[in-house]
Every structure is written in structure tokens, then in C-alpha cells.
């Protein structure tokens, strides 16, 4: 019986055997090891990744991922739309397309941007495989090894990965309840300048930021744009969650404040479907031309089929009602999470009530390390993402991200309860190990952190 699905010939696992005199066999399991580009050095197996393999089991309440709840979609309507695409323009949908993306879809994407009061022309857009490919292409276009990108701290892990892939170094700027702190941005840029370095890009998620869950206040937006202009920074504005504000509030985009200085990254992942893999970048013409060339080099073109489905969805369905359905569902789940956090988490933990998006960000008491705690959490059948994932500089050990968009309210409550129990226990252990002075001199008072839900103060 032959197995057709073997990944490689079985037998000896040794691929680069060097059999020497006396029968000594020296084995390097990867004969290509010396050929890899130096920028890929960090691409190793990781313990945390292995732990997440357990988190995908149904027994575990996963508050780790960032998945929208696609069960909120009208799947029958999606099926109809898809069938219609195949019936009416099947041959074209199953053909290659242009590098910039389907023109009709770009028309619809301009309408999506208009829902957030962002003016754009379909020619200003390139369609990408989710917002993530937009970030990758922008990093590829702008980042030489050693270039500096300024970003919020914490910041979106996928963006950090994209910048790291081109060997840029990310410098974080703290946030507070109103988002990125302008004075801190100014201070970081000044410090860089004093060190003879200059940042090229400011990467920011201004609405319901992933992972911190805060939005940049309206009054700060003009300030941030002004600082960027003064320091000649190009702003990469990543806006996956702008339409997921629980109250439907729309904040002015940085792009609308300074169209010449912003590359705007959008996505249909959170307002329609992540499986459709459809995002876009809107950018000034010169940048856009290069992005289209890079897009063609990367994958020739976006899938015409999924573009046609998306186009039909946004032209024929009440898509804004669907967005409202998503955000109402998330608001209910967010409230369940906040109530359980309040009930279950020990004093010394703090968080802010999100006003939209998918995530809540929690700070833990000193000495409680979210990375180290993950193994125990998985054993207790609950998962989250440790804070360190969201910093390029090793910060975030005492922070963690919780997702409220995917699990049901009851599961969320159960997960947060399990985590709360664990944190009480861990705190007791940390106190017992370090004594009352605490690991950094102050578990039992004298701590400036808010004890409970945090209305203000700095996030990092």
C-alpha cells in the first residue's frame, strides 16, 4: 500500500550525513541551514506556538486568537452571492486579474472608506491579501535593514512581524486612554535624532487598537499628523476596527487629515469575512505605483474569484447592517468579559473598558509573568496571548491580551473565571516566593497602578 501523501521519503531521518572514518556520523538535519538569508534567523520552533496547539482543542476556552465571529454572517446570502458570481461572470471570476485589483471592487472599497468619511478614488487603491499583505508590501517598499519604524507600544503583532522580516527596528511609543501620547512621540523622535537615527515610518492603529483596545482621541489626531510632518514621517494608518465602534462613532482618519502623508491600510476581514482575504492600501500615487509592482511580484494578482464575491456582497447586500450585527454581538461579549474580569480578577490587575474592536488589554501585578503563566493557563483550559508578543523590545511581560469576538458570552465568562482563579493562585505564590516586598519592591501597597478597572493613566 503506497501512501500518496508523504511529505518526504521515510527511512533514515538523517539528511546531511557526513560519515567519517571509524563510522562517526555527524548529522545536520537541515542541509540548507547555511543557505538561509540572515534575516530569517529568528524563524525557529517556539514553545509558545506549541502551547497554542493545545488551545485549538474544544476543551480549551481560547481568548487568544483575533477571529471575528463569522457565524454572525448570513451564510445563505453569501452562498447566493457566490453562486450568482459564477452564473453571471464565472469565466472572468476564475481567470487571472489585474495587479491593482478588480476595478469594480475598488469602487466598493471607496464606498467602505466613505462610511468612515475617508475620501479616496478607486485609482488610489491596490487590493491586497488582507491588510496583512498591505503591511508586508509597505515594509518591503520602505524598510532597509536597520531602519526605524515608530509604533504604539504595544503594537499589532503582524505588523511587528512584517517590519522584522525586512530587518527594520521598531521603537515603541506609549499610549494612554486617548491613544498614542503626542509628547511621548515627540520625545522618542528627539531621542532618535540625538542618537543620529531617523525614523522613516509611524505605524499606528488609531481605532480600537490591537492589542490595547484604545482609540486615538480626535484632538490628538491633528497633533500626531503635525508631529509626523515636522519629522518627515510617513504614517501607515492601519484601520481594521474603525467601523466596530460600539456606539457607531466614527473618528476622523489620519488619512483624511493628511492625505499626502498617509498610507491607509483597510480590510474586509472584520466587516465581512477574513476567509475572503481581501484588504487594500490607499496611498499617494507614487507610492501606489510601486505597491502595484510589488504586489505583482509577490503574487501576480489577488484572487479574481474572491474579489468578485466581495464586490457582489458590498453592491447587493445590506453590508452596513451586517457590520452593526457584528458590533452588537461583540459589545455583548465585551460586557460579559468586563463583568467577569471585575468579579474574578485579583486586585493589582488593571484594564480599560474597550469601546469597540475585538480586544481587551490587561496589566498584571508585578512579578506575574504572562508568558510564564501560559503553560498553567493551558493546563487550566484557558488561553490568551502573552503581552511580549506585542512588543519588539521584550517589554510586556506583565501584560496580556484577551479576545472577546469569538467565544460565546458564557464561554468568555468561564474562561475569564478560570484565568482569574489562576491569577489569585499565582499571586499567592509570587508573594510567598518574594515575600511582602515583592519582586520589584512593592506588591503590598505603594504601587501606583490602579487596582481595578482603569479610567486613565498610561498603558505602558
Amino acid at each position: 500500500m503506497t501512501n500518496l501523501f508523504l511529505r518526504k521519503p521515510l527511512g533514515s531521518p538523517t539528511r546531511a550525513d557526513d560519515v567519517q572514518e571509524g563510522g562517526l556520523r555527524s548529522t545536520d538535519l537541515d542541509p540548507d541551514f547555511h543557505r538561509y538569508a540572515s534575516r530569517t534567523r529568528g524563524l525557529n520552533a517556539s514553545e509558545i506556538r506549541a502551547l497554542f496547539a493545545v488551545a485549538s482543542r474544544p476543551e480549551v476556552v481560547s481568548l487568544a486568537g483575533g477571529m471575528p465571529d463569522t457565524t454572525a454572517l448570513d451564510i445563505d446570502a453569501v452562498a447566493e452571492v457566490t453562486a450568482e458570481v459564477l452564473r453571471t461572470s464565472g469565466a472572468a471570476a476564475l481567470q487571472y486579474g489585474g495587479g491593482q485589483g478588480m476595478p469594480e471592487l475598488r469602487d466598493r472599497l471607496v464606498e467602505v472608506m466613505a462610511a468612515e468619511h475617508v475620501a479616496a478614488h478607486p485609482d488610489d487603491l491596490v487590493v491586497t491579501v488582507g491588510g496583512q499583505q498591505g503591511l508586508d508590501l509597505l515594509a518591503k517598499l520602505f524598510c532597509d535593514p536597520g531602519d526605524v519604524v515608530v509604533a504604539e507600544g504595544p503594537s499589532y503583532v503582524g505588523a511587528l512581524g512584517a517590519f522584522a522580516a525586512y530587518e527594520a527596528s521598531v521603537v515603541h511609543v506609549p499610549m494612554d486612554a486617548d491613544g498614542l501620547v503626542p509628547e511621548a512621540l515627540e520625545e522618542r523622535l528627539g531621542r532618535l535624532q540625538a542618537a543620529g537615527r531617523r525614523a522613516k515610518l509611524l505605524y499606528t492603529v488609531p481605532n480600537h487598537q490591537n492589542p490595547a483596545g484604545v482609540s486615538l482621541s480626535v484632538s490628538r489626531r491633528a497633533l500626531i499628523v503635525e508631529i509626523a510632518a515636522r519629522h518627515d514621517l510617513l504614517i501607515v494608518e492601519d484601520n481594521p476596527y474603525g467601523l466596530l465602534d460600539f456606539k457607531g462613532e466614527v473618528r476622523p482618519s489620519l488619512c483624511s487629515l493628511a492625505p499626502d502623508r498617509v498610507a491607509y491600510v483597510g480590510t474586509l476581514s472584520k466587516i465581512f469575512s477574513p476567509g475572503i482575504r481581501c484588504g487594500w492600501v490607499a496611498a499617494p500615487e507614487a507610492i501606489l505605483d510601486k505597491l502595484v509592482l510589488l504586489k505583482e511580484a509577490a503574487d501576480l494578482c489577488q484572487s479574481n474569484f474572491t474579489q468578485a464575491v466581495a464586490e457582489r456582497w458590498f453592491s447587493s447586500q445590506p453590508w452596513l447592517d451586517q457590520v452593526v450585527a457584528f458590533r452588537e454581538r461583540y459589545q455583548e461579549r465585551c460586557e460579559a468579559m468586563l463583568a467577569e474580569l471585575e468579579a474574578s480578577f485579583p486586585d493589582g490587575c488593571s484594564w480599560r473598558a474597550p469601546t469597540g474592536g475585538l480586544f481587551a488589554w490587561v496589566r498584571l501585578p508585578p512579578g506575574v509573568n504572562s508568558g510564564e503563566l501560559l503553560a498553567r493557563a493551558i493546563s487550566a483550559r484557558v488561553a490568551y496571548v502573552p503581552g511580549r508578543a506585542f512588543y519588539a523590545d521584550g517589554d510586556g511581560a506583565e501584560e496580556l491580551r484577551l479576545n472577546f469576538s469569538y467565544a460565546t458570552p458564557a464561554r468568555i465568562r468561564e474562561g475569564v473565571r478560570r484565568l482569574g482563579e489562576l491569577l489569585h493562585d499565582e499571586l499567592e505564590l509570587v508573594r510567598a516566593v518574594y515575600g511582602d516586598d515583592g519582586p520589584m519592591g512593592g506588591l503590598a501597597g505603594g504601587d501606583e497602578r490602579p487596582r481595578r478597572r482603569d479610567g486613565g493613566g498610561t498603558t505602558s
Binding site: N3, P13, S26, D28, S46, V60, G367, A375, R381
Partner: protein, 315 residues
């Protein structure tokens, strides 16, 4: 090919080593299928007993790593169900699973193992053991290795170079198990000796290209270099083999184990742990040792299956 067997390959489960186990299981299942056996892969969950009853399996191949798969839990259940399975029985598994217990047995039997202190979270929480931590450093010196007393894949292992790093390492390690082992660090060559049916295979020497043989070094292709047999003189090689067989016998093991040890500059093999469900991934050490012995991967799997089929009762 031997006679075609009906084999249930058990892999996955809910242990922290689920991913590694799935990789081992996939590889074993493919190899055995390729040799013409009837193989079904079973993820270990609350349907396990029912799944095993659905088919008349000759043998259950345990490609499980970590808690519940390696600690005697599954083994005890299979003994109750009267299903033949690969690897040591429930008692041997439970003994070897707890490093503090196993080390105690080795020391009594005169086998070398680095000096250690076992510390439970109860002792810390309820008896103020933190106040005695300085005694650990006084007794064992520095550097130290802190690890969960139960668990594998080098998860939760921390090295301690200064006394003030000890507390954080202990807290980290407690995340993996409620008892931590604080062990003297031994300088030397890292060697793994697999034992199949009571005989030692050629020792494998492990040389991480950078840092220690941690999770990334274990499971990233090319992050580690291996030498088979280990670069030791014949006398020292033989001592490794003898001690590995000694560890196998002391645990009352059967079929297959792998002993991890450090060989110091005097040639003393210091036993660190006995793995009763050795990894079968592409970067694992048992298949490498078997290859040096002239057995291909499928042949190794079949050999283990036949040992289980032959019905050697678990001790």
C-alpha cells in the same frame, strides 16, 4: 514486512506537548501504513475508550508526550482494557515521569545523577520555604538548572547563573508543574542513549549551534548538530550504554526508553532523565540512533509494534 497488524496510533491529547506528539504520531502512522499495516490515528480525548472498542486493534502505538500520555495514565487505562501497547507499563511510566523520584532511585542504585533539591509549591506557599532558598545555593552552588519535576520537551527549564535569579526561575517553572527540581549544572557533552528491548543503541551526542538544547533547538531543523556515536572514547561510550540500560531496568521499563545524560570531562555520565515515550519526530534522537544501527524509521516502528504484540507484560 512482518504480518499486517491492526494498529491504533495514539497521539495528541491535551498535554502541553500536544504539537510534538501529533508530529510523532503522524510520522509513525505514515511509516506503518506504508509497510502495509492497518493504521488508525486516534487523538486522545473523552472518546478514547469508545474509539478503541470500535476496532479490534492488535496494538496501540503510544506516540504521546507529556502529562496523561507519558505518566502512566493512558498506560494504566490500556492495561485495564487489556489492549497491548508500546512502551513501558503504567508503573514504570509513572516512576520515570517524575524526575525527582527517578533520580532518587538512580542515586540509591549508585548511578550518577546531578545533585538536586525538589521544591513543591505547597512548601513555598504553606511552609515559608522561600526563606530557605539560600541553602539551595549553598548546597548545590552555581550555576543551577531549574525544571519542572514532571514534563518534557525542555519546557519550563530555566538556567540560573546568579543567586538572585533563582526565585524568578522557580516561579516560572511552577507554571509547568507544582514541584520543581533545582539541579546542579554539569558541564560536559550532552548524550542521549536509546534502549530498545533492553539493549542500548549507539549514543547520540547533541550539540546545539547556539545556546542550550531548548525547545527551539530541539524542534527547529538544523538548529542542532548530532554525532552518532557520541564523540567519546570506546570505554566512555560503553559506560553511557551501561548506565542507560541500568536506568531502563531500574524503572522496570520495557520495549523502548531514552536516557538523557551529560558526560563530564572525567567520562562520568550524569543521568538527567528517562523518557518512556521518546520523540519520533524528524528531529528526534531515537530514530537517529536506530539509523546508526542500520534500522530505517519504519523498521524501528515495526520492531516496537512487534515487541508490544509479543505480549511482554508490563511490570
Amino acid at each position: 514486512m512482518t504480518v499486517a497488524r491492526r494498529i491504533a496510533v495514539l497521539a495528541g491529547g491535551l498535554s502541553l506537548e500536544r504539537e510534538v506528539s501529533l508530529r510523532s504520531g503522524r510520522r509513525v502512522a505514515e511509516a506503518l501504513t506504508d509497510r502495509g499495516h492497518h493504521v488508525r490515528r486516534i487523538d486522545v480525548d473523552d472518546r478514547l475508550v469508545a474509539a478503541l472498542a470500535e476496532d479490534d486493534f492488535d496494538v496501540a502505538y503510544l506516540a504521546l508526550h507529556g502529562k496523561a500520555g507519558e505518566d502512566g495514565t493512558v498506560q494504566g487505562l490500556l492495561e485495564l482494557l487489556d489492549v497491548a501497547f508500546t512502551g513501558p507499563g503504567s508503573v514504570a511510566s509513572a516512576l520515570a515521569w517524575d524526575k525527582a523520584v527517578m533520580k532518587g532511585l538512580w542515586r540509591r542504585a549508585g548511578l550518577s545523577t546531578p545533585d538536586w533539591v525538589a521544591l513543591s509549591s505547597e512548601a513555598v506557599r504553606e511552609m515559608g520555604a522561600a526563606r530557605a532558598l539560600h541553602r539551595v545555593v549553598d548546597r548545590l552552588g552555581l550555576p543551577l538548572v531549574v525544571k519542572p519535576s514532571q514534563g518534557g520537551a525542555a519546557m519550563g527549564v530555566r538556567s540560573v547563573h546568579a543567586a538572585d535569579e533563582l526565585a524568578a526561575a522557580i516561579v516560572a517553572s511552577f507554571s509547568y508543574h507544582s514541584v520543581v527540581l533545582i539541579e546542579q549544572f554539569v558541564h560536559g557533552q550532552e548524550v542521549a542513549v536509546s534502549v530498545v528491548d533492553g539493549s542500548a543503541l549507539p549514543p547520540v551526542e547533541v550539540v546545539p549551534k547556539e545556546g542550550s538544547y531548548d525547545f527551539a533547538a530541539r524542534y527547529t531543523h538544523g538548529a542542532t548538530e548530532f554525532h552518532v556515536p557520541a564523540r567519546l572514547d570506546p570505554e566512555r561510550l560503553e559506560r553511557c550504554r551501561v548506565d542507560a540500560v541500568g536506568a531502563y531496568e531500574l524503572a522496570g521499563a520495557r520495549h523502548v526508553t531514552r536516557a538523557d545524560m551529560i558526560v563530564d570531562s572525567d567520562g562520568v555520565p550524569w543521568l538527567l532523565e528517562l523518557d518512556t515515550c521518546p520523540g519520533m519526530t524528524e528531529t528526534s534522537l531515537l530514530p537517529m540512533a536506530a539509523a546508526a544501527e542500520g534500522w530505517d524509521f519504519a523498521g524501528l516502528c515495526e520492531r516496537i509494534v512487534e515487541l508490544a504484540y509479543a505480549g511482554d507484560p508490563p511490570n
